[in-house]
């Protein structure tokens, strides 16, 4: 995890991103996702790809970032997804 700098004090921590994923998933799928951890395998969440894109869209709006489509292929765990999000926030 990268240390916060003066320019981005509002940038959420890694835990904050995980919490953001959980609440976005709950809003989109209308189901509780509090059990989700970084090691959770995305396919085991039983969220379809349309739903996953909606969740990612919600995170993008909150973080004011845009994740290129090609970075979304081949994601396995929530950790992979949060890595992509963090990398995008840093750039």
């Amino acid at each position: 995890m990268q240390p916060a700098t003066m320019n981005d004090v509002a940038r959420p921590t890694r835990d904050g991103l995980l919490a953001m994923f959980r609440s976005a998933a709950t809003e989109v799928v209308e189901k509780d996702f509090q059990h989700v951890q970084e090691a959770t395998v995305i396919s085991e969440l039983a969220i379809d790809s349309l739903g996953m894109l909606e969740i990612i869209g919600s995170m993008e709006r909150q973080l004011r970032i845009q994740i290129p489509d090609e970075s979304l292929t081949g994601l396995h765990t929530i950790r992979d997804l949060l890595d992509v999000v963090e990398k995008r926030m840093a750039s």
Partner: protein, 577 residues
């Protein structure tokens, strides 16, 4: 022999060449980062010619098949046109953009490459790695080439293309079987483009502009927004499908910014906008420019369109711009369109449910409703929808039996010219078509026919069930037993027994039917088509085999499969609207 179209060029190649002097108007592609790039019609013609030269230089001959996996809209469209200019038959394959099941994707790529006999697969540098393992499974080893490798100018292909030539293969999975390739000819493209762009939409090249996020590997996006507009000189704006799903407002923003006049989407997209868009997101939008908001490709629910219209009324959206329609890849794209400015019109079916008027057939085309023996049925009688005319394709590539089953004469007709048997059920009121569902999915219980979509829509209204994720079918509960009604749904609340009770009560009160079994499955666990529709046949098969996942009734600690609160919501069934 059908007469040639009167108002458009005989082939798409001729149509694009005829636009080559237009350096101002063209197609605008929005990338996922929001940047836009305009290719004028002139640029497109030049680039198509250039890519055609490369394909010919690489040994592709007229009639050879070229599989294409190109997620970027501009690369897709330019390569598709390049193939047509070379007389090569493009075979679009959807790109991998899911978060699971890469194995199944490799199977699909291998199946389509094999079934089409593709001699080459064209992809992009960033997509190559996801396609390669699929291509490696194909015995004939088609060459794998990226668009970057088609750099520079290697001369023209010098191929002549005529209306009888096969233009491309549209692989379609339907909800029942492995993808099969519909053979769409140049003549079919011209006929359908004339039908829906001119007779259907009365397009005005000086005013009209299309806006679409529809996938280009699917008939609605490709024929509706690339082929039709190129034949009729209408500029279009394309945004990535994923951009729309991530932020539904992106679709409306592009209509607003570009003053779009024509857009199209399946029912679910209108529902998604109505559900996701916040009041403040509607502020500042001006959609008064939009004259056509088409809807098709899946059963249309009047409620989704009404909710959309209500949501977007402050933005100046005119509900008369709704244009419900009916079509399928086997008929190139469009079969019926509502007349302009009539908007949403509905009818009550035999059980009082509301069905959307899908309009009338185009000039030079015919539509009829037939019974099981192939005899024409009268007004308001439900049967299979059949159609024929210059837009109807000749059949499936290398599938003579399936083609003969689907394209055949109807019983009570002397001339015996084949009709496309759509496999969809519907009825006519005057010249208007109402679609009821798929023939194969009809549920027969004690000699009476029930339409699964009727039951599914009713059950979808129950709280705790994810809307649209309900499948109803008939299945024997024991070997050689009578068919019984089974309902599978994806539960959101997790209280499976409450959902079960509510489903049984709902179906009993609305249809007078006893549900023999209700399966509450975890979210996103029911099998789906590539466009996200639940697959009834596959679900039924899994049910019969006992492989459908079920939410356990007991509270479980993981919380994945069941909500441990066990709190019973007030569940009730809404009356039919």
């Amino acid at each position: 022999m059908h007469s040639r179209p009167k108002h458009v060029a005989p082939t798409l190649v001729d149509a694009v060449r005829a636009l080559a002097d237009d350096r101002v108007r063209g197609f605008t592609f929005v990338r996922s980062d929001g940047t836009e790039r305009l290719y004028s019609f002139h640029d497109m013609a030049v680039e198509a010619e250039r890519r055609a030269g490369h394909l010919a230089a690489r040994g592709l001959k007229k009639g050879d098949r070229l599989a294409m996996v190109l997620p970027e809209g501009d690369e897709f469209v330019l390569s598709f046109l390049g193939a047509l200019f070379a007389g090569v038959v493009p075979v679009p394959i959807y790109p991998q953009l899911t978060f699971k099941n890469i194995e199944a994707y490799h199977d699909t790529v291998a199946h389509i490459a094999r079934a089409s006999g593709a001699s080459m697969l064209l992809t992009s540098a960033s997509t190559k790695q996801y396609v390669e393992p699929g291509v490696a499974r194909v015995e004939s080893r088609p060459g794998l080439v990226t668009v970057d490798e088609l750099a520079g100018d290697v001369g023209k292909a010098g191929v002549t293309v005529s209306p009888e030539d096969l233009a491309f293969l549209q692989f379609t999975s339907g909800s029942t079987s492995r993808p099969k390739g519909v053979m769409v000819s140049q003549g079919n493209l011209a006929a359908n483009a004339e039908a829906f762009m001119i007779h259907g939409l009365d397009r005005d090249p000086a005013v009209d502009k299309g806006v679409s996020w529809l996938p280009l590997f699917h008939d609605m996006g490709l024929i509706g927004f690339v082929v039709g507009p190129l034949f009729t000189s209408v500029p279009c704006v394309f945004l990535p499908t994923a951009s729309f799903v991530r932020a539904p407002r992106a679709w409306l923003d592009k209509i607003h910014e570009h003053r779009g006049t024509i857009t199209y989407a399946p029912n679910f997209a209108y529902a998604l906008v109505a559900k996701r868009l916040k009041d403040k997101e509607v502020e500042g939008l001006d959609l008064s420019c939009l004259r056509i908001a088409g809807c098709g490709a899946e059963p249309i629910q009047a409620r989704a369109l009404r909710d959309f219209a209500t949501r977007l009324a402050p933005a100046g959206f005119d509900p008369r711009s709704f244009l419900p329609s009916y079509g399928m890849a086997e008929a190139t794209l469009a079969i019926t369109f509502m007349p302009l400015r009539e908007g949403l019109t509905t009818d009550r079916n035999h059980i009082g449910q509301e069905l959307v008027d899908c309009g009338r057939v185009f000039p030079e085309h015919e539509i009829a409703i037939v019974d099981e023996e192939g005899r024409r049925l009268g007004e308001r009688q439900i049967g299979q929808i059949v159609t024929r005319g210059p837009s109807v394709t000749k059949g499936y590539f290398n599938e003579p039996e399936l083609t003969a089953e689907t394209y055949k004469p109807i019983a009570d007709e002397a001339d015996g010219a084949p009709w496309l048997h759509t496999g969809d059920l519907g009825y006519m009121v005057g010249d208007r078509l109402f679609v009821c569902g798929r023939l194969k999915d009809i549920i027969i219980i004690r000699g009476r026919n029930y339409y699964p979509s009727d039951i599914e829509w009713a059950v979808s209204e129950i709280p705790g069930i994810r809307r649209g994720n309900v499948v109803a079918f008939g299945a024997p509960l024991e070997a050689d037993g009578e068919e019984q009604l089974v309902i599978c749904c994806e539960g959101t609340s997790g209280d499976a027994s409450a959902i079960k009770d509510a489903t049984i009560a709902c179906v009993a009160s609305q249809f007078g039917l006893t549900v023999q079994d209700v399966v509450v499955a975890p979210l996103a666990s029911l099998p789906r088509t590539s466009s996200g529709k639940p697959q009834r046949r596959k679900t039924r098969q899994m049910y019969v085999e006992g492989t459908l996942p079920r939410v356990r009734h007991e509270p479980v600690s993981s919380g994945i499969e069941s909500d441990s609160q066990g709190e019973r919501n007030a569940i009730q069934c809404s009356p039919p609207r």
